[in-house]
């Protein structure tokens, strides 16, 4: 009995699940090899990872909180990539959202409820402005969005650096290069007393559902999907490409911005270059791994949040460096990307008369 490996006509759900499981298994195996290489007790490391992520209620809450900016950045990725608009500016848009929210918060003094609402809105607007800029550059000047979003990442981060080092935003007498602490009245309220579950968690859940709803049930979501799947046919059928570029990048940027605002006003309570670093980029991985599907992005964000939380535990309990944790995330991404390729093939028996 001989087998051969041949291409399927269409990937089935079963083959996708099967290949995802293989991807996870291989990813774990590769990570284990990596850990073994750096002389870490593999069992202890994975044990710490799991406990740290979901071991007890407190850790679960921690994972949820860590998942919030990842979910927002993941949704930003999802909505843009579904339109085949390659937003790689989540990193900068996260910062822009946090920065806009901070700036606005320093100027307003409304009743508590309105204050928070305005701050959140400012977070969205900050990221949206950055996204819209890339969209306009593409619509009017045909500037490739990958180029403009990536370059804006640098620009925004340097703008923040300037605002901080020029002492415009830096608190007087501070040693570290960061803003003053965000006053309590401006911080996102805690959902469950005694925990660190802030409003951002609820907003993230709402966002996941909202993006899912928009993509599947609204005419705009329909146009995004049509445009992403076949932009030429979409254009012939009345969907305006320029409108798509600007709107989608604006909303995408806005979602990432919300993530930045939620993180700064719900967890960090300060703006600095270090706190928000990497959230946007990880969001890209989250979005892609989830197959650009909003509900899946929620799950993937939770998993990555868990890995981040558990990673801290791994560092402490099993003496694993933080670089290894990032490497493990990258390994998982690579195996996931390969798994979607794998689901298109299958093993079949060679017929006797072939």
């Amino acid at each position: 009995m001989r087998f051969k490996f041949e291409k399927r006509l269409t990937p089935t759900l079963l083959s996708s699940i099967f290949s995802t499981i293989i991807a996870v298994v291989l990813a774990i195996a590769a990570s284990a090899i990596l850990l073994w290489f750096v002389d870490v007790d593999v069992y202890e490391a994975f044990h710490a990872l799991l406990i740290g992520a979901f071991g007890d209620l407190e850790n679960i809450y921690g994972s949820l909180v860590k998942a919030v900016p990842l979910a927002f950045a993941g949704l930003a990725t999802g909505i843009a990539f579904r339109a085949k608009i390659w937003n790689i500016g989540q990193e900068g848009q996260v910062f822009a959202g946090a920065m806009m929210a901070y700036w606005v918060s320093s100027m307003i003094a409304l009743p508590w409820f309105l204050n928070i609402a305005v701050i959140i809105l400012a977070g969205f607007i900050g990221g949206a402005l950055l996204g819209a800029l890339s969209g306009i550059l593409k619509a009017k000047f045909k500037v490739d969005e990958i180029v403009s979003t990536v370059m804006l990442n640098y620009i925004i981060v340097f703008v923040l650096s300037y605002l901080l080092t020029s002492r415009l935003w830096m608190a007087p007498g501070e040693y570290y290069i960061q803003t003053a602490q965000i006053p309590e009245i401006n911080r996102l309220p805690i959902l469950l007393a005694g925990t660190n579950l802030h409003l951002g968690v609820l907003l993230a859940i709402v966002a996941v559902i909202a993006v899912h709803f928009v993509l599947t049930k609204t005419t705009f979501g329909y146009e995004i999907r049509a445009f992403g799947s076949n932009s030429e046919a979409a254009r012939f059928r009345g969907i305006n490409p320029n409108r798509m570029f600007v709107l989608v990048l604006m909303i995408s940027g806005g979602l990432a911005g919300l993530g930045g605002a939620a993180q700064s006003f719900g967890v960090d309570f300060r703006i600095s270059q270090n706190f928000l670093l990497g959230l946007g980029s990880t969001g890209i991985i989250v979005g892609v791994i989830a197959g650009l599907r909003p509900l899946g992005i929620g799950v993937a964000a939770l998993l990555f949040g868990g890995m981040s939380q558990g990673g801290l535990f791994m560092q402490v309990m099993a003496d694993v460096s933080s670089a290894i944790v990032s490497s493990m995330q990258a390994i998982i991404l690579i195996f996931f990307l390969c798994s979607s390729f794998l689901s298109r093939y299958r093993f079949t028996r060679i017929q006797p008369d072939d």
Partner: protein
């Protein structure tokens, strides 16, 4: 007399799909043999197995009664089998002679073409093929390019020539010339297999093997059968080959096109001052080989391509350089020549494609929310009305056959259009049964008062459907005639660009 080629019980599978199912037929030396069948009947797969491009799962191929196995086209070529594909594989910046010797495995590093030129000249003289060896391929017409492809095969010593849809891109005169030279070749002992679904071509053969769904229906002597009989064998039921068009007097002007100048994708002029008028109750047919500006004309009319100069008016309103959204709003329907590029989203479900372009219509959405029950209802009604074969409205469109996908476009455009229909090669790649359907639909809309602009490579279709015919060549209208007032010969000459034919 032993046959030149004999195919016995050939079966070729692709995964679970059986493309050819136990096919047997034979070709005598010096015979013109036609493989006739609809899309998906298996004729292309069969010929690719004969040519060594595919290896059959089962079955045997005999050349002069000797069992042969071809592992690649190289083996087939070495055994005297040549193939001319429907889509040419020429290197356009190179000359004719350079293309002919390409890949012929000459020994040595010196490029000495004299010997090759002599050999090629001998072939051309034998069959009276006239072509300039030094001409660059891009300078040649489509018909001349086809001769280069044929010469490539003859140069390598082909004794059996397989031609895939040979007259798809030729004018009537060029087709005529092709078959005259083919006759000369077969008189000389060459065997020809040509693959076709065009009944006019088929009648030029000596015998025809009809394939349907991968199986041989029958092999018959061409002169003892009729087009109708062959169509019935191809399709499995009798099909009306020519729709009946009743004469109607044209109504008021609906679409006025004046001096249209449009560029193609390469920035070169595609339309050089085209002027046409289409009236209600009228079908204006555009005759011409594909690539003479038809695509650019239609795209400019619906707003998908920029108009450099000129004017377009619809029911008196100026619509030059409108957006596609405007065109849909104004009730202009568009049936594209490449349905999956400009008409459908292949990943979408049938019902999603049914509303592509009209998703914002209050029929299908409340404000920004899609109204799924209404969308499904519309899709189901269309499926019934147009006879679309699909397991459900939620099936993915790419799983449908070309004909059924085209019907989705028809259903959609007929629903959303109100004054005119622009149909660019609406029956390209479709089976005979569906072609009959599309023609009837167009005639029906004509009766209802629509203005219809129809472009087609099939001159027969243009003649059957159009009230007036405009011939297009290199972006210019060569002439506009009432159907029946001009001969096919004259139209063919105009299609080939000869101005003084009128």
């Amino acid at each position: 007399m032993k046959p030149h080629l004999r195919v016995e019980n050939l079966t070729k599978r692709f995964g679970e799909i059986v493309a050819t199912n136990s096919v047997s037929f034979e070709v005598q030396r010096g015979e013109i043999h036609c493989l006739l069948g609809e899309n998906g009947a298996g004729k292309s797969t069969l010929s690719k197995c004969i040519y060594g491009f595919y290896q059959p799962n089962q079955g045997k191929i005999f050349l002069d009664d000797k069992l042969t196995t071809f592992n690649s086209p190289r083996d087939a070529i070495a055994n005297g089998i040549g193939m001319v594909h429907q889509h040419f594989v020429l290197v356009t910046p190179l000359s004719v002679i350079e293309n002919v010797v390409l890949g012929t495995h000459r020994v040595g590093w010196k490029m000495d073409l004299d010997e090759s030129k002599n050999k090629l000249k001998e072939i051309c003289d034998r069959y009276k093929i006239e072509i300039d060896f030094e001409a660059k391929v891009w300078q040649l017409s489509v018909g001349e390019q086809q001769w280069v492809e044929i010469l490539k095969a003859l140069y390598l010593g082909a004794e059996l020539l397989i031609l895939d849809e040979p007259t798809a891109a030729l004018t009537p005169q060029e087709s005529e010339r092709l078959f005259r030279i083919i006759e000369r070749m077969t008189d000389d002992g060459l065997s020809i297999i040509f693959i076709s679904h065009k009944l006019n071509e088929v009648m030029q053969s000596k015998r025809v093997t009809v394939l349907r769904k991968g199986k041989v229906v029958s092999t018959v002597e061409t002169k003892s059968t009729t087009k109708e009989e062959l169509t019935t064998m191809m399709v499995g039921r009798s099909v009306m080959l020519q729709v009946k068009r009743k004469k109607m007097s044209a109504g008021k002007q609906i679409l006025e096109i004046e001096g249209l100048r449009v560029k193609n994708d390469k920035g070169l002029p595609a339309l050089q001052g085209v002027s046409l008028t289409i009236h209600a109750n009228e079908i204006l047919g555009i005759a011409g080989v594909a690539g003479n500006g038809q695509k650019e004309l239609f795209e400019a009319l619906i707003g998908a391509r920029n108009v450099e100069n000129g004017q377009v008016r619809c029911q008196g309103e100026e619509i030059t350089n409108q957006t596609p959204k405007d065109a849909i709003r104004r009730g202009i329907g568009y049936i594209p020549d490449d349905r999956y590029r400009s008409g459908l989203v292949s990943d979408f479900t049938v019902e999603e494609n049914m509303i592509l372009g009209v998703q914002n219509n209050p029929e299908f959405s409340n404000g920004s929310l899609l109204n799924f029950p209404k969308i499904s209802q519309f899709a189901n009604e269309s499926i019934d009305q147009f006879g679309i074969v699909t397991p459900s409205t939620k099936a993915i469109t790419s799983t449908l056959s070309g004909g059924n996908a085209q019907k989705i476009i028809l259903a959609r455009e007929l629903w959303s259009s109100s004054c005119c229909i622009l149909a660019n090669q609406p029956t390209r790649g479709l089976d005979v049964g569906v072609i009959e359907y599309v023609h009837n639909v167009l005639l029906e809309k004509r009766k209802e008062g629509y203005a219809i602009l129809l472009a087609s490579e099939e001159l027969d279709d243009i003649l059957a459907l159009s009230d007036r015919i405009a011939v297009i060549f290199k972006g210019e209208i060569m002439g506009i005639f009432e159907t029946g007032t001009t001969s096919i010969e004259k139209l063919g000459l105009l299609m080939a660009g000869q101005h003084d034919a009128v």
